[in-house]
Amino acid sequence: MSSPGRTARAGEGPAPFDADRVRADFPILRLRARGKPLVYLDSAATAQKPQSVIDAVSRFYLEDNANVHRGVHLLSERATAAFEEARAKVAQFLNAPEPSEVIFVRGTTEAVNLVAHTFGRQRLGPGDEVLLTEMEHHSNIVPWQMVCEERGARVVAVPVDDAGELRLDELERRIGPRTRLLAVTQVSNALGTVNPIRRIVEMAHARGVPVLVDGAQGVPHLDVDVQALGCDFYAFSGHKLFGPTGIGVLWGRTEHLEAMPPWQGGGDMIRTVSFERTTYAGLPNKFEAGTPDMAGAVGLGAAIDYLRALDREGARAHEQDLLDYGTRALSQVPGLRLVGTAREKAGVLSFVLDDVHPHDIGTILDREGVAIRTGHHCAQPLMKRFGVPATARASLAFYNVRADLDALVRGLNRVREMFR
C-alpha cells in the first residue's frame, strides 16, 4: 500500500501532515470543472477517494472476486478472507471489542433502519418515546417515526440553541420514564456542531436509556473509540470516510445484537432452514442477508488503512485551521450570516446571504468551479428552527487548502455583484 502524502519510512510514525502531498493522493482533485480548477467543498455529502481505495476496489474485481462464505474454491476463500479482514480493520478503527459486532450495511441510513426495525420495534410500545435532537439528519428521524407510528410510540426532539449547540439541560429534562432510546448525531451535517457524546451517553445511561450515535459526519473528522464513547450503537457510511459508496457499518454491543431479532431474511443469515422452522446464524451474519458489497468492504478497509497511515492529529489541526480561516473570511462577506456557530465544530460552514437564495449561490459558484451543497441538507426541522428555507454549505476535508476558501469567497463576491 502506498502511504498517504509521503514516502514510506519503515519503523517511524506518519510524517507530519502536508496538505499538498495529501492532495496528490486524490486523483479527482486534479480535475478542472467548468474550465476552472475544481474546488471541492462538498465532502460532507460525499468525500473523494484516494488512489489506494480505487486500486483496492479494482484489484478485488481483478484478482479476488467470488462470493463470500460459501464456495470451497480458491477465489471464494480469498474473497472471504478479504471481506473479513475489512471487518477486522473496522473493528480496530472503532476500537470495538469484537469484529463480530461490526455489521456491514449499505450506509448510515440502513444502519439506523436496522436498529429501528429490530431493537426499536422490540422495545417500543404505546406511549413510549424515542428521544432525538433538532439537529438530526432525516435518516435519524424518519426510521424512528415509522416504527413509532407502528407501535403507538412517539419521537421527542431535544432543542438546540441559537449557536446550534444541543441544549443539554433540555436533554436531561426530556429523558423520562417512557424514554426507550436516544438517537443522536455526533457531528451535525448542516451546522458542523460536535456533540459531547460521552457526556450525553452518561446522562442517558444514568437513566437506563441506550444510545445510538449517528457517526456519518463524526468519523471522517474525529477519532472514534466506541468503548470510550460508551454508546450502544454507532453507525457510519463508507463513502463519507473516503471509501466507496454502498458500504457502511453498524457497530452494536454484542448483548444487544444477540437479543435483537434478524431484520432482513435470506441467504447467509441462517443456520438451518426448513418449511417448519428456520434457525438463524450468529453474529455478524444474522444481520447480513444476501451477498454483501464485498468490493465496497474491501475499499472501506483500504480507506481505513489510508487514514491509519496519515498523521491524523496533523490532519485535524489543518482542518481546524481551515475552519477558522473560512469562518473569518466568510464573516467579512457583506450580508452573509453563518448558520451554526457552536464552540466545537467540525468541517462545516453553513451560511445564508441577504436576498440571494442558496440555490442561486450554488449555480453561480458552480460556474466558478466551486462545488458546494445548497438546500435543507436533509434536516428540515433544523432549517425551520433557524428560520431559513435552505442554506449554502461548504464542507471540508483534510485535502482542502486555504486557496479553496479564497475561491469560495471570490465566488460569493461575484454572486453579490450579480444580485446587487
Binding site: D360, T363, I364
Partner: protein
Amino acid sequence: MSNELDDLYQEVILDHGRKPRNFRRLEGATVSAEGLNPLCGDHFKLYVKLDGDKIQDLAFEGSGCAISKASASLMTSALKGKTIAEAEDTFRRFHTMVTEGDKSAATGLGKLAVLQGVCDFPTRVKCASLVWHTLNSALKGEEAPVSTE
C-alpha cells in the same frame, strides 16, 4: 464569467426575482395549489380565479430562488386573461424551451422567453417549471402539493 450565467440571470429575471409581480394571496380564488421543490426548499402557493374556462386573475406567494420566483412572476403576468387551453399550450411551449433549448419554441412566448437560458442548467429546470406544474395541479383540482421530486 460564463455567458451562460449572464443568460440565466438576465436583468429581467433578477428584477422579477427581487420584485415579483402578483405576489400576494388572491381573495376569491376559484382554485389553488401548492408546489414544493424538496431539493432546494422552494415552496409556493398559487391562486387562480376562473371565469368559465377563462383565467381572470392569478397570484402566488411563498419563497424560492430567483429563477422559480421570476418564473412564477412572469407566468402569472402572462396568463392573465388567457383561456385554460391557451395556458396549457403556453406551458407546452415553455417546457420545450427550457428542457430542449429549442429557440423556435420561444417565439410567441413574449417575456417568458427570458427564461430560455435555463436549458443550459439542467438542475435548474425544476425551478423554472415548478409554478407551471403547480398551475396544472390547481386547474385539475388536485389536493396533494405538487413536488418536483
